[in-house]
Symmetry: none
Subunit: 228 residues, 2 copies
């Protein structure tokens, strides 16, 4: 699911993005209405979170414009509770609104609610077998791995290893244990098979494999996925 977040305040923009990414959504960012319109034209956007009070009120204009063309759910952010009335008064086609300062969990809830409404039968629900830590999401139902909302393609073995570690984030697994649980073979004939796989996974999920954020080595003991 792709969500466009539009706010001129960089900090808020980042904060919202991180929360959404941690929920497994892919995020597009825009800092004004013009950018937002461009992204909506170019990319596939499933929901928009837009601040109204941006330079020249163009959050409002953008919203109106988008509404003319597409039927994408829009959640408005307004600085004060009073603005709420303004939004309603202006009869803009917002599907929901949130006043700043807002509770991130509430925003997430509303995002889910909107998306649920627009998707036939709940797709991105809080499923049982979705393992998350920071921006890393391992969805065992669809077998899709996501980092900051970006899908990462793993091979079967890579997936199994990462799933094991993410499912037990924080716990350290020895190479032997990883081998036994992923390969389901008792004896463990090592060479350095596991190490090689770990490296490949890092290559795919880490921004900088040299300084991994998620998949860490615990020297002389094993590997783990950080609990974030």
């Amino acid at each position: 699911m792709n969500i466009l977040v539009c706010d001129d305040d960089k900090e808020i923009l980042e904060a919202i993005s991180i929360y959404l990414q941690n929920e497994g959504y892919h995020v597009f960012k825009a800092s004004n209405g013009k950018e937002a319109l461009e992204i909506v034209d170019e990319k596939e956007v499933h929901l928009i979170i837009m601040d109204i009070m941006m330079p020249e009120m163009d959050g409002l204009r953008a919203t109106l414009k988008i509404r003319e063309e597409k039927n994408i759910p829009i959640i408005m952010l307004s600085a004060k509770a009073e603005d709420t009335d303004k939004i309603l008064g202006l009869n803009i086609g917002a599907d929901d609104y949130v006043t700043k300062p807002f509770n991130p969990l509430e925003l997430i809830a509303r995002v889910k609610s909107q998306l649920r409404r627009y998707t036939t039968l709940g797709s991105l629900e809080t499923k049982e077998n979705v393992f998350k830590t920071g921006g890393l999401v391992v969805d065992d139902e669809s077998k899709i791995v996501t980092v900051d909302g970006e899908e990462v393609k793993l091979t079967p073995v890579q997936y199994k290893i990462l799933k094991l570690l993410t499912q037990n984030a924080g716990r350290v697994f020895s190479i032997e244990e990883i081998y036994e649980r992923v390969w389901q073979e008792a004896p463990f004939n090592p060479e350095n098979t596991v190490a090689v796989h770990i490296r490949k996974i890092r290559e795919k999920i880490e921004i900088n494999p040299k300084e991994p954020k998620y998949l860490k080595v615990v020297w002389g003991i094993g590997y783990k996925v950080e609990k974030l």
Copy 2:
């Protein structure tokens, strides 16, 4: 894990309870908001499932009240999809909601999800392999050692020694015994390997290694971690 279920419909109350009990949860039952509040006050409740549409809307009031006092995850049951908006609009701190009629499996899934989120976000989990004494904590699951909340990086041998001593805080271990139990080798050829490791550990975990608070020497006999 204890779950409080609150619904004025006895049948639904029973049905939900049975499903939860089959999953191994302990269930408290309440049929109105007042009862719910009492139970929350008296018992240890880890999660609440609450119907909103109870006599006099007191499901809502109860929820608000509980939210004021405690931070227990709450899953709301609402009769119609429209109520969903009401929950959101009223800005109640529900963590999730399910509309009736619901699939019991979905409810269970959400319960697990909430409990996972709650326990994952570092709270009081009953961890078996965490050894503490004073401000020193050895977590054998993540292999993380902490002094007054500050992480201390130990090498594998250092970790094993400290774990052994902390696990048996108060007991004195001779150098031979430490050697045998950490290296798993019977003969013990000493030099002063163990002493060197002990020193390095002290350097890392003690504020003032000259006057160690945790890792002490018992002259001529061995070492121990103080039981505090």
